[in-house]
Subunit: 274 residues, 2 copies
Amino acid sequence: MTRIALVCPGKPILRERADAVLALAEAEFPRAELCFSKQCFEHDGHFAGSDDARLEAFVNAANDAQYDAVWFAMGGYGAARIAADAMARLGDEARDKTYLGYSDAGVLLSALYRDRIGTPVHGPLAGDVRREGGDDAIRRVLRYLSGQETAPEPLDAQPTVAFNLMTLAMLVGTDLMPDLSGHVVMVEEVAEHLYAIDRLFFHVTQHLRGCAGIRLGRITEVPKNDRPFGCDEVAIAQYWCDRSGIPYLGRADIGHDAANRIVPFGVEARASRS
Amino acid sequence: MTRIALVCPGKPILRERADAVLALAEAEFPRAELCFSKQCFEHDGHFAGSDDARLEAFVNAANDAQYDAVWFAMGGYGAARIAADAMARLGDEARDKTYLGYSDAGVLLSALYRDRIGTPVHGPLAGDVRREGGDDAIRRVLRYLSGQETAPEPLDAQPTVAFNLMTLAMLVGTDLMPDLSGHVVMVEEVAEHLYAIDRLFFHVTQHLRGCAGIRLGRITEVPKNDRPFGCDEVAIAQYWCDRSGIPYLGRADIGHDAANRIVPFGVEARASRS
């Protein structure tokens, strides 16, 4: 049996979406047991409960020996308010676990990776069940967490991490940021103007000098601006990679969508492929 | 005679707004001579001309001995693409000038302050003529640049700088960022959700540890979210200042509005007031 605790470090998940994930797991993954913390359904302004409630829920799940994995049920801003305090409270039981999610939950993946606690993994949130093709995203996670399937072979010979671009931009230079020298960094974004993507690339490429390269995930739901930006996201990524001496390595199969790939942090392609 | 060159490092200014500024200057400031670079009216996708055009216009204005000041006519993202190259090309003539603007133009003020070139000053853009009360913003700048009036007495005994919050967040940790230890840092923002303000404060307070304090300017045009954030911008600023050990010093009279105060970088209150 694989036991999976679900928590919401940012915003809450709708009950009906949690129920859809539970129903799918029950029907198709009899050897996976999912436990949504009641914190996932709390509301406190923007957040799924107060900072204390979100902190306690995450720390309790991470430190509970009965769970094999902590699956972030939703993104939405909020993890930055609890990550530093959480790391200080993680014990030995937290070290054997897998932590899976993306978007704002990348703040916790980043802090865990920095502190070498457990296995941080970029991948779909439980809340992605709402998307077109969302059931497949949920199946992908449950096959991975229950050991039925390994993550797809990494693309590069260097250890890889994956982040939402804005989330990464807010992490660089902070106490929650791991040293990514020698890493391939995948980035994706949703609902940002291309000028904001350009601005974020200026910032993160300055901070990532020394990394092994950047791969560009999907940039989706770009809002319509009063004028076109003038080039696309690939040209933006190439421009700032060139300026900062970071290799641009091409596209990555990640994004705010149901196809979002599973990317375990720090894993590289096997030597035979590199 | 005070000669003022106007350039647009980000987006272009509308001709009618430039004309309104010229008409006001002609009517009320006979001893100020304003020269809009034709680059101000160029269009290249998002920008007021290509990176080269914007770079050349700024460098030529800064290096031209006939001008006493460079006034940024518009903000809008774009200065980050030209600032590093511009600094490398500034000569002795650039050192005696005042550079005035805010918002995205803060990138150039930051780089100038870092390199100790000229006098960077936070203050209204020529394009602010469009705002309610915009004529007074233009008058404030022209009185200041033509020496009719000094900047308002600084609030604090430490040297002060002022930035748009997002602009500052993209500057911290980069080659364009000055050392702000011992400085009071004023920040303002427009058209960002409160959760984004919170996220930006997380980021900048981590980078500004060692500064003398933060003052909060106006946070305006906050978009309506699907749920309230849960606290206001003052509580956000206080929260992150507390967490990072930075003194929260109260409000600042800056913002994306016509009342936006003139703040010369690096100036502190006179000893008699401190």
